[in-house]
C-alpha cells in the first residue's frame, strides 16, 4: 500500500428522511505526500462525505482508508481521535472557532489537547498566526475578526500539531472573492512549503491551484486525470 493516504472501494450509505442515501458508491484514490488535490463536483456528489471518510470523522459502509499504512477503520474511537489530532488538520467552511477563546487560544487548543507544554504551544501558536498574517490579531476573539481572518485562524489551528495532511471542506465557501483569494494564496504557500492538501471546493480558482483535480458525480469519482485510476487501485488490492 503506497502513498500517504489510500482509500479503496469507499461506500457510504446513510438514512435520510426514511430513505437510504448512497453518498459514495465505491471510490478509490491514493494521495501522495506533498500533493495538492482538489475534489470538485456538484452539491450532493459526495465530496464532503469523501473528505470525512478520508479524515476518519466518519466510517465507510464498505471499503477502507489507510493513512501512512494505518487502517483507520480498525482503530478504536480513542485511537482515531488521536490520529485526527496529530496527523490530520481540518479546515471547515464555517470556521468553527470557539467564540469564548482568542485567536491565539483557538490555535493553542489542539496542542493543549495533544499535551504540549504551555510555553511551547503559545510560541508555536504565535508563530502560526504570524504565518497566516494575523500576528496583530492574536488577542481578538472570533467575533472581532472578519470571515477571512477567522478562516486563517482555522488554518493556523489545523497546522498546530504539524499534521501529515490538511483536509479542507469548502474553505472559501463563506468568503467573498477577494477574501477567498487570500485563503487561496495561503494554501498555495502551504503547498509550496511541502504540505499535503486535499480541498473540497466549488471554487474554480481554488481548484485550478491544485496540482490534481478529482471530479465527483453522484457518489462516484468520474475523473482523476493525474491520479491512479479507481479500477487499478481496486484491482491492485
Amino acid at each position: 500500500m503506497s502513498g500517504l493516504l489510500t482509500a479503496v472501494g469507499l461506500r457510504k450509505d446513510y438514512p435520510m428522511n426514511g430513505e437510504v442515501v448512497h453518498a459514495l458508491r465505491g471510490v478509490s484514490l491514493t494521495i501522495e505526500r506533498g500533493e495538492y488535490v482538489a475534489v470538485v463536483g456538484p452539491s450532493g456528489s459526495g465530496k464532503s462525505t469523501l473528505l470525512q471518510l478520508l479524515g476518519g470523522i466518519d466510517s465507510p459502509t464498505a471499503g477502507s482508508v489507510h493513512l501512512d499504512g494505518v487502517h483507520l477503520e480498525a482503530l478504536s474511537d480513542r485511537e482515531l481521535t488521536r490520529i485526527r489530532l496529530t496527523r490530520i488538520g481540518f479546515v471547515f467552511q464555517r470556521f468553527h472557532l470557539l467564540p469564548v477563546l482568542t485567536a491565539l487560544e483557538n490555535v493553542e487548543l489542539p496542542m493543549a489537547e495533544a499535551g504540549l507544554a504551555r510555553a511551547e504551544r503559545r510560541a508555536r501558536a504565535r508563530e502560526l498566526l504570524r504565518y497566516v498574517g494575523l500576528e496583530s490579531r492574536v488577542s481578538h476573539r472570533p467575533t472581532a475578526l472578519s470571515g477571512g481572518e477567522m478562516q486563517r485562524v482555522a488554518i493556523a489551528r489545523a497546522l498546530a500539531n504539524r499534521p501529515a495532511m490538511i483536509l479542507a471542506d469548502e474553505p472559501t465557501g463563506e468568503l467573498d472573492a477577494a477574501t477567498g483569494h487570500t485563503i487561496l494564496s495561503l494554501f498555495r504557500r502551504l503547498h509550496d512549503d511541502g504540505a499535503t492538501l486535499v480541498v473540497v471546493t466549488h471554487d474554480e480558482h481554488l481548484a485550478r491551484e491544485a496540482g490534481r483535480v478529482v471530479q465527483m458525480l453522484d457518489g462516484r469519482m468520474v475523473a482523476d486525470p493525474s491520479g491512479i485510476a479507481p479500477e487499478q487501485v481496486a484491482d491492485g488490492c
Binding site: Q52, I57, T81, R84, L85, F92, V100
Partner: protein
C-alpha cells in the same frame, strides 16, 4: 458566558435553591445544637427535678434541698451541685407592683446566668440581688442601687406580703430567659423567705456537674438509683427527647432541602442541555479536530460545576441573610429562651451541604455531557453545512 442573561438567570436560580438548601441544613439540626449549647453552657451535665417534670416546667418543688444536695454530692463523680428555686415575685415601681420572675441560686454553683455588669453575689449575700437587663432598664437601676422585692399576696392564706430591700450587685444574662423577661436573682434562702418556702427548704431543681462529660451517663444512672423520687436527666437525655419532639420539623427540613437539590439538578440540566444542543456544531468540530470525548464531557461537567459554585457562593450569602431574618422571627415566639437559635451553622453540616451541591452540579452536567459525547460528528457537520 455566551448568553449572559441566561447564565445570570441560571446562577440566580442556583443561588436561590442553594439558599434554601443552606437554610434547611441549618434549620434541621440548628435548634438541637443551640439547645445543647444552652444546656452545656456552664458545664453542668445533669439536672435533678421533681418526679415527672422538667426543670422549671411546673411549680412543683423538691423538699429538703440541703439533704438532697448532700446525697447528690456524695457521688464520687460529682464536683458541684447547684440548687435553683424559680418563682414569681413582685417589685414596687412607683405606686404599682411589677411581676418579676425570681431565681434563687447558689452563686458558687450555678448553671443559669452570666454576669454582664457589676459583680456576682457572694455565697451568703443575703442583701444582694442580680437583675436581668429588662429589669434594670425598666426600673432604671445600676449596680449599687436598691430594689424592694415583695412576695406573692395569698388572699386565701391571708398571708401578709413579705418584702426585702436588696442592693443591686450586678446585671446578668439569665440563660433560660425569653427575650425581655424581667428576672431577678438572689441567694436561695432569700427567695425561699420571700416565697414562703424556707420551712420545707424547697427548691425547683439542681444542676449537677461531674468531673468529665464521659462520666455523665453513669453518674446519671447512679443518681437515679439514689434518688428514686426525683427526676434525674443528663443533657444527652434532654437532647434525645428534644430530638424526638422535633422529628417532624427535621423531616420537613430534609424534604425541602431535597426539593431544592432536585430543582438545582433540573435547572442546570435544562440549561446545559440547551447549551449543548446549541453548540452541537462546535462540539462536532472539536471532536473532528481530535479533541477527546473525555475533554468534551469534562468541559460540560465543569461548566455545570462552575455554575453551581458561583450560584452556591451567592446562595450561601443569601441563605445567611434569610437565616438571620427567619431566626429573628422564630426566636420571637413567646416563651422561648432568647439564647436559642433555629439556624445554627455546623461545620460538618455545611461541608455536607457543600459536597451535595457540588455533586448536584456534576450530576446535572452528566446528561448534557453524555449528549455532547455521543453526538455523531459527520452527521452533525452535514446538518450544520445545510
Amino acid at each position: 458566558m455566551r448568553h449572559r442573561v441566561r447564565t445570570v438567570l441560571a446562577v440566580a436560580g442556583v443561588a436561590v435553591t442553594t439558599a434554601m438548601l443552606l437554610d434547611m441544613v441549618l434549620l434541621a439540626g440548628g435548634i438541637e445544637r443551640s439547645f445543647t449549647r444552652l444546656l452545656e453552657g456552664r458545664g453542668f451535665q445533669i439536672r435533678v427535678s421533681p418526679k415527672g417534670t422538667l426543670p422549671f416546667d411546673t411549680e412543683a418543688t423538691i423538699p429538703d434541698a440541703a439533704g438532697v444536695r448532700r446525697r447528690i454530692a456524695a457521688d464520687s463523680a460529682v464536683v458541684a451541685v447547684g440548687p435553683v428555686l424559680a418563682t414569681s415575685l413582685y417589685a414596687r415601681h412607683g405606686d404599682s407592683l411589677v411581676t418579676l420572675f425570681g431565681y434563687g441560686i447558689d452563686p458558687t454553683a450555678q448553671a443559669i446566668y452570666e454576669v454582664e455588669r457589676g459583680r456576682d453575689l457572694g455565697p451568703d449575700d443575703s442583701t444582694g440581688v442580680l437583675l436581668s437587663v429588662p429589669v434594670a432598664e425598666r426600673f432604671g437601676l445600676v449596680p449599687g442601687d436598691t430594689l424592694i422585692l415583695q412576695s406573692r399576696l395569698d388572699p386565701e392564706a391571708v398571708r401578709a406580703a413579705v418584702s426585702r430591700r436588696l442592693v443591686v450587685r450586678g446585671i446578668v444574662r439569665w440563660l433560660y430567659d425569653y427575650k425581655g423577661q424581667p428576672s431577678v436573682g438572689t441567694i436561695v434562702t432569700v427567695l425561699q423567705d420571700l416565697a414562703g418556702l424556707r420551712a420545707g427548704d424547697r427548691v425547683s431543681a439542681f444542676a449537677v456537674k461531674v468531673r468529665t462529660d464521659a462520666e455523665a451517663a453513669a453518674a446519671t444512672e447512679r443518681l437515679r438509683s439514689a434518688l428514686p423520687r426525683l427526676e434525674v436527666n443528663s443533657i444527652a437525655d434532654f437532647v434525645r427527647r428534644f430530638r424526638e419532639r422535633l422529628v417532624y420539623f427535621r423531616q420537613v427540613s430534609y424534604i425541602i432541602g431535597s426539593i431544592s437539590l432536585i430543582v438545582t439538578v433540573l435547572l442546570l440540566s435544562t440549561l446545559l442541555s440547551i447549551t449543548v444542543n446549541e453548540r452541537r456544531g462546535e462540539i462536532a468540530t472539536l471532536r473532528a479536530i481530535g479533541v477527546a470525548r473525555g475533554t468534551i464531557v469534562g468541559g460540560v461537567m465543569l461548566e455545570g460545576a462552575l455554575l453551581t459554585l458561583v450560584g452556591g457562593a451567592l446562595g450561601a450569602a443569601l441563605g445567611a441573610v434569610t437565616a438571620t431574618y427567619l431566626d429573628r422571627i422564630l426566636t420571637a415566639f413567646p416563651g422561648l429562651p432568647a439564647s436559642i437559635s433555629f439556624f445554627v451553622p455546623d461545620p460538618q453540616s455545611l461541608t455536607l451541604a457543600g459536597a451535595l451541591l457540588v455533586a448536584t452540579g456534576v450530576l446535572a452536567g452528566a446528561y448534557p455531557a453524555l449528549l455532547a459525547a455521543r453526538a455523531p460528528i459527520a452527521a452533525t457537520l452535514r446538518a450544520e453545512a445545510t
